[in-house]
Symmetry: C2
């Protein structure tokens, strides 16, 4: 019995250390794994395999500013939260992956495909003004644009100049074109 | 100590019953949760929230047989297996959800959106000929088409007549248009 008590004692000590360690780690953790302490946004990787697809659309003509095949993804837990509350919780990341467009004649008809990766638009939900001095944060979101030529660099300098013009029409739905997201329905 | 031994005894008995129960349940389980014993294919639900998105494309003109916005999903474990082996393992389900198409002029340009759900094409990978007497199984797959008017009914009567003509060009890639699946790349 003594041995068992001793064993149980060590077990609880070990578990306590794990729990305390996790608590300390959580304190040190930043707002999001995709945002550094200055509010610089990092492009998530492999979201196509691990996140949920909200919806796709295509701007087929190269003359248009939004040219490309657009696929939008978010974290599974953000989708769940949106379905409960109708809002994306803080920490939600929307990644819109853009491919160039390919037209082809197939047995099913004239088809528009996604071809080569060209860029990624990223929005990170943040409603408390953590990064209000950073010009890529505001209106409840962090905003970023990465080009395939250098996916490590956010080329947006100021979201008000570089991002808002295309999102103006979606202001009533928290700046996001939810009509393009059938998964939310 | 006696009490502890008794408690441990009951605990192990309980665990053994759970393990045995699971083993029996597994034996009774059919080939796939989406296929009944006669090979009838059942349309999965909520695949948009729980599965991975392989890719999307659009056949924008109503005159074409494949008209609609196509979004394709599969199970996360099938994607993992494909990335390792270059093949979809038995039990893989490909669900292609089709929406009608909406064109709109947006700040980003002339956009093609997914509008209303219209149908689902489903393929189930099966290489051992389990259902060789069922006319919707063959060439390594089970084949199905569900319409939004009755998603419980596979309207395909014979995959050779109802499905293969559109897939002929993809024979070399196991009848699947993998060029439309950027997630596999």
């Amino acid at each position: 019995m003594k041995k068992f008590v001793k064993f149980a004692g060590f077990l609880f000590l070990f578990l306590s250390l794990i729990i305390l360690g996790a608590a300390v780690a959580e304190k040190k953790e930043s707002f999001s794994p995709y945002v550094d302490e200055e509010g610089n946004i990092i492009l998530p990787t492999d979201f196509r395999s691990n996140w949920v697809h909200l919806g796709s659309w295509v701007v087929p003509y190269q003359r248009d500013p939004g040219y490309g095949f657009h696929d939008v993804y978010t974290q599974p837990e953000s989708l769940k939260a949106y379905r409960k509350s109708g809002r994306f919780p803080d920490g939600t990341v929307l990644v819109k992956e853009i491919h160039t467009v390919q037209w082809d004649d197939m047995p099913s008809g004239h088809v528009i495909f996604a071809d080569e990766k060209s860029s990624w638009f990223v929005m990170v939900k943040e409603s408390k003004g953590h990064f209000k001095d950073n010009p890529n944060w505001g209106d409840g979101w962090g905003w970023a644009l990465f080009k395939a030529s250098d996916p490590s660099k956010n080329v947006s300098l100021d979201y008000k100049k570089d991002c808002l013009s295309c999102h103006e029409l979606a202001k009533a739905t928290d700046w996001v074109y939810i009509q393009g997201y059938p998964t939310l329905r």
